[in-house]
C-alpha cells in the first residue's frame, strides 16, 4: 500500500479552452517532495496526484504536514527536493502568483479572507483579479453573483466578512477561489465550523465541481465528509504518505487506523507511522462518529 496511485479521470475535460490534465488526465502531480524546518522533517518524499472529474482527499492527524504540502504546491514554501507539476508543467522556482495564473487556487486553514470587505466584495475582488491577468475572464460582476448563489452566500452578501461566523467565512474563501475559474482547487479545511446541512451542501458542491472538470484536492478533518465524496484518498502522517487509494481501501488500511487511533500496526512496513502521539486529535475515526 505504499505506492500512491490515482484513478485517472475519465475523458479529457477542459476548462477555459486549455487541456486540464496531462496525458493521463492528472492535473496535479506532486513528486517526492521533502521539506525540513530546522531539524524537523515536515514532509518526506511525498508524492500524490489529483485529477479532474472528482475530488481527491488528503487526510491525516494534526501536524502531519498537510498545510505545508499546500504551501509547497502553491509556491509559498520551497521544497528541499522534489517537484510539483501542474498539467504536466514543472512549477519549480515559480512564484505563487504565477502558479495561480496557471489555474491554481486555494483556501487557507487559518482564514485569509479580506476581512474589511463584504462577502460580495471578497468574491468580486477574486473575479477582478482574474480579469486583470486572464484574457478569458468573464465579467466580474456576473461571476460574483453566480458564485454567491452557488456557494449559498446570497443571504450574507453585504456583510463584512469579519462579522460573520468562521464557517461561513470559509465558504467565502471558497467562493473567492472559484472566482478565478481554477483548474486545480486546493481546499484546506473548508468544512470546519459548518453544521451538518451546510456540510452536505459543501460536499455536493465539491462533487459538482469535480464533475465539471475542476481537480479538487481536499484537506479535511471531517473524515466522514472526505470518505463520502472523494474518489481517491491520500493519508499523510508525520510528513509521509502512509496510504492511498479509494476511500474503502484506505479506511481498511491498518496503518491508517494506527495513525488515527494510536494502536500498533500489525504489519511491519517502514515503521515510524502510527506511534503514540498522533492519536486523540481527530474527532472521527474511519466510518463512525459525527
Amino acid at each position: 500500500m505504499s505506492a500512491p496511485t490515482a484513478e485517472p479521470a475519465t475523458g479529457a475535460s477542459s476548462v477555459g479552452g486549455t487541456e486540464v490534465g496531462d496525458g493521463d488526465g492528472v492535473v496535479l502531480r506532486v513528486e517526492d517532495v521533502s521539506v525540513s524546518f530546522g531539524g524537523i522533517r515536515a514532509l518526506h518524499m511525498v508524492s500524490l496526484a489529483a485529477g479532474a472529474g472528482g475530488v481527491t482527499g488528503l487526510i491525516g492527524p494534526n501536524g502531519a504536514g498537510k498545510t505545508t504540502l499546500f504551501n509547497v504546491i502553491t509556491g509559498l514554501e520551497k521544497p528541499a527536493q522534489g517537484r510539483v507539476r501542474l498539467g504536466g508543467a514543472d512549477l519549480s522556482g515559480m512564484a505563487p502568483h504565477r502558479r495561480a495564473r496557471l489555474g491554481m487556487a486555494r483556501t487557507f486553514q487559518r482564514l485569509e479572507v479580506f476581512g474589511s470587505l463584504s462577502v460580495r466584495d471578497n468574491i468580486l475582488t477574486g473575479a477582478e483579479f482574474h480579469r486583470s491577468w486572464s484574457r478569458h475572464a468573464e465579467d466580474p460582476a456576473s461571476v460574483t453573483e453566480e458564485i454567491l448563489d452557488r456557494v449559498g452566500l446570497r443571504a450574507v452578501a453585504d456583510l463584512r466578512v469579519d462579522a460573520i461566523p468562521t464557517g461561513m467565512a470559509r465558504l467565502v474563501e471558497l467562493g473567492r477561489a472559484l472566482a478565478t475559474r481554477p483548474r486545480l482547487l486546493l481546499l484546506d479545511e473548508p468544512g470546519s465550523g459548518l453544521d451538518e446541512n451546510e456540510s452536505e451542501d459543501l460536499g455536493r458542491l465539491l462533487i459538482e465541481l469535480g464533475e465539471a472538470g475542476v481537480a479538487v484536492l481536499l484537506v479535511e478533518h471531517d473524515v466522514d465528509l472526505v470518505m463520502r465524496i472523494s474518489r481517491t484518498v491520500f493519508v499523510l502522517d508525520f510528513g509521509r504518505i502512509i496510504a492511498s487509494g479509494s476511500p474503502s481501501e484506505v479506511q481498511a488500511d491498518p496503518h491508517v487506523r494506527a495513525a488515527y487511533l494510536g494502536t500498533q500496526p500489525s504489519t511491519d512496513d517502514g515503521g515510524g507511522a502510527g506511534s503514540a502521539g498522533s492519536a486523540g486529535s481527530s474527532s472521527s475515526g474511519g466510518g463512525g462518529g459525527a
Binding site: 509559498l76 502568483h97 495561480a100 487556487a105 485569509e112 475582488t125 460573520i164
Partner: protein
C-alpha cells in the same frame, strides 16, 4: 600601520557606543516585536536626569547612576510596556512606528520644557575619570572611552549569559520563537515583555549617560538623534541576534572612522557620518533574506465605508465654496497659513492612499514633496504646467525606484528602508541643491487660465480645488476596483498571491502613485511664499507627517485635511504664544501615544460617532446588521 591601528582603536570605541544602545533596542524588539523609535529619547532623558542629580543637586555619582540606570529607567520601561506597547501587540506596523515616534516627540517636548535651552546654563557632563588617559598604539585613549568599551563588553557578555543560562532569559527567547508553547510551559508573556522593556530602557539609559559627556554640552536633539542610528546595528543583527548587533555596531564605528581617516576630507563621504550608517542600513535591508509571506490578521481594518460619488462631489463642492468664502474674509498671514494647509493636505492625502488604503508605511514622504518642489522650481518658470508635470514624474519615478528595492520587504523592514532613503536624500540632495548656502530656491505659482494665482486669494483657491479633486479622486479609487485591490493587499497579501496578484508590482504601483501625489503637493508648496528651503523636507518632518495622518484617521480624506491645517497652523500660533512650541510637541506626542488604543485616530473616532448618530436604525454603515450567537446568524431584531 600605526595609523591604521589608531583608527581601529578609535573606531572600536565609537562602535561600542553604537553596540550598547543597539542592544537595548534589540532586547525590547525581541520579545514584543516593536521597534522603539523613541529609544534615543529615553537615553536623552536619562542623561539629563543624571545631570540634574549630579550637577544641579550634587548627588554622589554612584547613587545617581543607580537611581537613573537601575531604578528610574527600568521602572519607566516597564510602564512603557504596560501602557503603550501592550495594546500595540498584533496591530499593524505603521501604528507601532507612529506610537514610538510619538513617544520620541513627547519626550523631546517634555525635556525641552523641563530643561529649556537657556543661554545662561551650559549643561555639561564631565567624562568619567576625566583627565586621565591611556596610551595605546600612539593614540591617547581617555579613561571614559575605556569605561565605554568595558561596559559594552560586560553588557554583551552579560546578555549572552542571561539569554542562554538564566530562566528568565531563556523564557524570553522562547516567547519570541513560540509564544503559545512558551505560555503553556508556564512563561508569562506579559511579565516577560515588561521585564525586557525594563532591561531595554536601562540599557538606553546606560548608553545615554556614557554618550552625553562626549558631546560637549548636553543637547536634547543631538543626543536623541544620535541614538536613532542605533537602529542600523540592530537591523544588521536581524533584530534578534545580539552578537550580530554588537558586531554591526563595531563595524559601523570602524567604517565611519576609516572613512574620515582615509578618504579625502573634502569628499562627500567624509561629510556624511550619518549617511554611512544609512547606506549600510539600506544595503542590509536589501540583502535580508526575503521574508516568508506570513498570515495576516483575521479581522480586517476598521475603515469607514467610502462615501458615494454624489456625496463626495457634494462635499467637494461645499468645500470649494467654503474656501472661496474664506479667501474673502481672510488675508495676509492667515490666508497664507490656510494655503499651506490645503497644499499640505494634498501631501497628507498621498499617505492616505499609501498607508490608509494600501497599508504600506513610508517614513520619508516629505522627501517626495521636496523633490516635487525642486522640479517646479527648475522647470516651472512663470508657473508653467511643465513644472507640475515634472514634479509628478520625478517624485513618482523616485518612488518607484525606492519601491523596486523595498518591495520585497514587508512591515517594519519596508518602513526602515524608506527611512534610510529619506536620510540619504537629506545628505545627498537636500543639503546641496537648494540654493547657494541653502538659501532656498525661488518658485513660481502654477498658472491656470481663468484664475489669477498671482494673488494670494487665487492661489489659495487653486490649492483648495486641487485638494478637492485629489480627495474626490481618491474616494472614487477606493470605491472601485483599485480600492478593493488595495484593501485585499492590506488584509491578506498571501491570499492575493494565490489569486494571481503580483504583489511586488502592486506595491510598486501604489508607492509610485503616492509619491507622485506628494510631488504634486511639492509643486504647489513653494509657490505660496515664492521660496522653498530644504529644511521643510528633512526626515523628521516625514515622521511627523505620518503621525498626523494617523491621528486624523489614516483612511479619511477629511482627517487628512484637518491635521494638515493644524500642521500649518501650529507654528503660526506658536509665534504668538511662545510657550506653545514645547506644549505642541507634548500634545502631538500624547496624541500619537493614544493611537495604540485608538488605531483609527481621532478622525476615525469622530467618523464612527457620526455614523452611529446618522443611522438611527441601528444599522451602522460599517457594522454588521446581524449578530452572531454561537455559530448561528441572528438578525438584529430577532
Amino acid at each position: 600601520m600605526s595609523e591604521f591601528l589608531t583608527y581601529t582603536i578609535i573606531g572600536l570605541v565609537t562602535g561600542c557606543i553604537y553596540a550598547l544602545t543597539a542592544s537595548g533596542l534589540v532586547v525590547t524588539y525581541m520579545t514584543t516585536g516593536i521597534l522603539n523609535f523613541g529609544h534615543g529619547a529615553v537615553s536623552m532623558v536619562a542623561a539629563f536626569a543624571y545631570w540634574q542629580l549630579t550637577i544641579e543637586w550634587h548627588m554622589p555619582v554612584l547613587l545617581a547612576l543607580i537611581l537613573v540606570i537601575l531604578v528610574g529607567a527600568p521602572v519607566f520601561g516597564a510602564l512603557l510596556e504596560r501602557l503603550l506597547m501592550r495594546p500595540l501587540q498584533g496591530k499593524p506596523v505603521e501604528l507601532q512606528v507612529v506610537v514610538t515616534v510619538g513617544l520620541l516627540i513627547f519626550l523631546l517636548g517634555l525635556a525641552n520644557l523641563a530643561w529649556s535651552p537657556a543661554a545662561s546654563a551650559t549643561r555639561t557632563l564631565p567624562r568619567f575619570f576625566s583627565g586621565h588617559s591611556l596610551k595605546l598604539a600612539s593614540v591617547f585613549v581617555d579613561y571614559h572611552s575605556i569605561v565605554v568599551v568595558a561596559v559594552a563588553v560586560a553588557v554583551a557578555i552579560g546578555l549572552r549569559f542571561f539569554f542562554s543560562v538564566s530562566r528568565t532569559g531563556v523564557a524570553m527567547r522562547a516567547v519570541v520563537d513560540n509564544p503559545g508553547l512558551a505560555a503553556m510551559a508556564g512563561a508569562r508573556p506579559n511579565r516577560i515583555a515588561q521585564f525586557s522593556w525594563a532591561l531595554g530602557a536601562a540599557l538606553a539609559a546606560l548608553g545615554g549617560v556614557l554618550l552625553a559627556p562626549l558631546q560637549g554640552a548636553l543637547n536634547i536633539d543631538l543626543l536623541t538623534l544620535t541614538v536613532i542610528l542605533a537602529i542600523v546595528p540592530a537591523v544588521i543583527g536581524r533584530l534578534r541576534s545580539l552578537p550580530l548587533t554588537v558586531a554591526g555596531g563595531l563595524v559601523i564605528g570602524l567604517a565611519v572612522t576609516y572613512a574620515v581617516g582615509y578618504l579625502p576630507p573634502d569628499s562627500f563621504v567624509a561629510k556624511a557620518q550619518t549617511a554611512i550608517p544609512m547606506v549600510i542600513l539600506f544595503v542590509a535591508l536589501v540583502l535580508l533574506r526575503q521574508e516568508r509571506l506570513r498570515s495576516g490578521r483575521v479581522t480586517g481594518m476598521t475603515i469607514a465605508r467610502a462615501p458615494s460619488l454624489s456625496r463626495s462631489l457634494v462635499a467637494a463642492g461645499v468645500f470649494i465654496v467654503v474656501a472661496v468664502v474664506v479667501s474673502e474674509l481672510v488675508s495676509g498671514v492667515n490666508l497664507g497659513t490656510a494655503t499651506r494647509g490645503v497644499v499640505l493636505g494634498i501631501a497628507f492625502l498621498s499617505l492616505v492612499l499609501l498607508t490608509g488604503y494600501a497599508g504600506q508605511v513610508s517614513l520619508g514622504q516629505m522627501t517626495f514633496v521636496g523633490t516635487g518642489a525642486y522640479a517646479m522650481a527648475h522647470l516651472g518658470h512663470h508657473g508653467s504646467l511643465v513644472g507640475v508635470l515634472a514634479a509628478v514624474a520625478v517624485s513618482g519615478g523616485l518612488g518607484a525606484l525606492v519601491a523596486i528595492f523595498a518591495v520585497r520587504l514587508r512591515g517594519l523592514y519596508l518602513a526602515l528602508s524608506t527611512l534610510a532613503f529619506a536620510y540619504a536624500m537629506d545628505y545627498i540632495f537636500f543639503d546641496q541643491h537648494f540654493g547657494p548656502y541653502g538659501s532656498g530656491l525661488s518658485v513660481d505659482r502654477l498658472h491656470v487660465p481663468g484664475l489669477d494665482t498671482t494673488s494670494d486669494k487665487g492661489f489659495f483657491i487653486l490649492g483648495a480645488v486641487i485638494f478637492a479633486l485629489a480627495g474626490v479622486g481618491l474616494l472614487a479609487l477606493r470605491r472601485g476596483r483599485y480600492g478593493r485591490r488595495l484593501a485585499a493587499l492590506n488584509d491578506s497579501p498571501q491570499a492575493c498571491a494565490t489569486l494571481g496578484v503580483n504583489i511586488a508590482y502592486t506595491k510598486l504601483a501604489v508607492f509610485s502613485a503616492s509619491a507622485a501625489l506628494a510631488g504634486l503637493a511639492g509643486a504647489l508648496y513653494g509657490g505660496q511664499q515664492h521660496l522653498v528651503t530644504s529644511a521643510d523636507f528633512q526626515t523628521f518632518n516625514s515622521l511627523v507627517l505620518l503621525l498626523l495622518v494617523l491621528l486624523g484617521g489614516k483612511s479619511l480624506v477629511s482627517g487628512a485635511l484637518a491635521t494638515a491645517v493644524l500642521y500649518a497652523l501650529f507654528p503660526v500660533l506658536q509665534q504668538h504664544v511662545p510657550s506653545l512650541s514645547n506644549i505642541q510637541y507634548v500634545l502631538v506626542g500624547l496624541g500619537a501615544l493614544t493611537l495604540g488604543r485608538n488605531p483609527e485616530g481621532l478622525g476615525g473616532q469622530i467618523t464612527r460617532l457620526r455614523d452611529l448618530l446618522v443611522d438611527r436604525s441601528g444599522r451602522a454603515e460599517s457594522g454588521p446588521a446581524w449578530t452572531v450567537e454561537g455559530e448561528r446568524l441572528v438578525g438584529a431584531d430577532g
